[in-house]
Amino acid sequence: AAFAGGADDDTLTINGELEMTTKAPAPEHLDGIFDEVISGWHFRSDETQQLETDDFDNPGMIFVDQAMDEWNTAEGSEGKSCADCHGDPAESMAMVAATYPKFNEEAGELRTIQMQVNDCRVNRMGADAWKYDSGNAVSMEALITSVGRGTPVQVAIDGPAAEYWEKGKELYYTRTGILDLSCASCHEQNYGNYIRADHLSQGQVNGFPTYRLKNAKLNGIHSRFKGCVRDTRAETYSTGSPEFVALELYVKSRGNGLSVEGPAVRN
């Protein structure tokens, strides 16, 4: 269980077999900042932690099941489903969550999972794009992360991704709003401390999409970012904005080495 002073020492095994890496040596780019990177799971209560250890108890898995139906359903002018091109997601999608956001050479842009899914929907299926972080989009993202669980996060930050990463890093350290706080004020300088009733984690994204007991639904990464920026009494960026895409890459790279954990359960 989580108490003042930091992360607990519990270990996370899912369905009695999948051993998760929830603490890992910090990636090189965090030299001098962290020795260890820690999943948000370690900062939650025993009761909340428990819900993530079994897919039958994890409410996020209900949305994964719904997305599986979607996966097999043909949609759009081309009459194709995801399954028509990608077969069994457990095989075709196993490495996606660990490596996205990822630079797409052909399109010349950094893509999040949701951007890539929408690209397939619009350009290959002739279907509508899903609104960023909407129910359908987050559920599909959860299906894709669920089959990647246990794989270490390993997003590339060099080559064409470097400029996005730099931009994300700048956003991470920029103090915003009337409260004048940056992501680092809370998640780097103060993780392990309570801020009012909330136990601050490192703000990692390896567990996303997260099922939150507070709002009883799956929550996307950008929606979480938006909530945190809003809490500094600032004007936020929008979900799906270039700023949040870059920030997602940067924050995800701070968790390189942690297991993909989504859909995780949080309070």
């Binding site: 004048d180 009733a197 009494r233």
Partner: protein, 158 residues
């Protein structure tokens, strides 16, 4: 008669965002970040200061500070030091400076400035996530700063 008139004036002054309080951009900090002069000229009300420290939409000081005297309000944070006894080891001027703009005392601190209206990046309209409209209000008014300082001065035992 005279006395009553003065009291009435002070009440009027405390109750409104009155013209002769020092504006946020005009506060004079000394080299250590302390603010000698009262921001309003009117004394602070410690009981109001107490409420402001607990109130989430106002000071919300206990989000970051533990204060034994405020134990009746739930959930005290740990981001800043406990404030027990702070009125004993800090002067009123130091406390006024710290609450108005703690960056003048502690360089780079995460503690927000409660009496500041400029120099922000992407200031928002309260907690809506939207851009601030028009003039930015300080989180606490001049009199509210004085009220909080008055409460802090009551914290004598650590």
């Amino acid at each position: 008669m005279r006395l009553t008139a003065i009291t009435a004036a002070a009440v009027l002054v405390a109750g409104t965002a009155f013209a002769d309080s020092v504006a946020p951009d005009s506060v004079t900090y000394d080299e250590y970040g302390a603010v000698e002069a009262s921001l309003t000229g009117a004394p602070g009300d410690a009981a109001k200061g107490r409420d402001l420290m607990i109130n989430r939409g106002k000071g919300n000081c206990i989000a970051c500070h533990e204060v034994t005297a405020l134990e009746d309000a739930p959930f005290h944070g740990e981001v800043g030091p406990a404030l027990n006894g702070v009125g004993g080891y800090r002067t009123e001027a130091e406390l006024r400076g710290i609450v108005a703009n703690p960056k003048m005392t502690f360089e780079g601190t995460v503690m927000p400035a409660f009496y500041k209206t400029s120099g922000f990046t992407r200031p928002g309209d309260g907690y809506t996530g939207k851009a601030a409209q028009g003039e930015i209000e300080p989180i606490l008014s001049a009199q509210e700063i004085e009220d909080v300082v008055a409460f802090l001065m009551t914290l004598q035992d650590s």
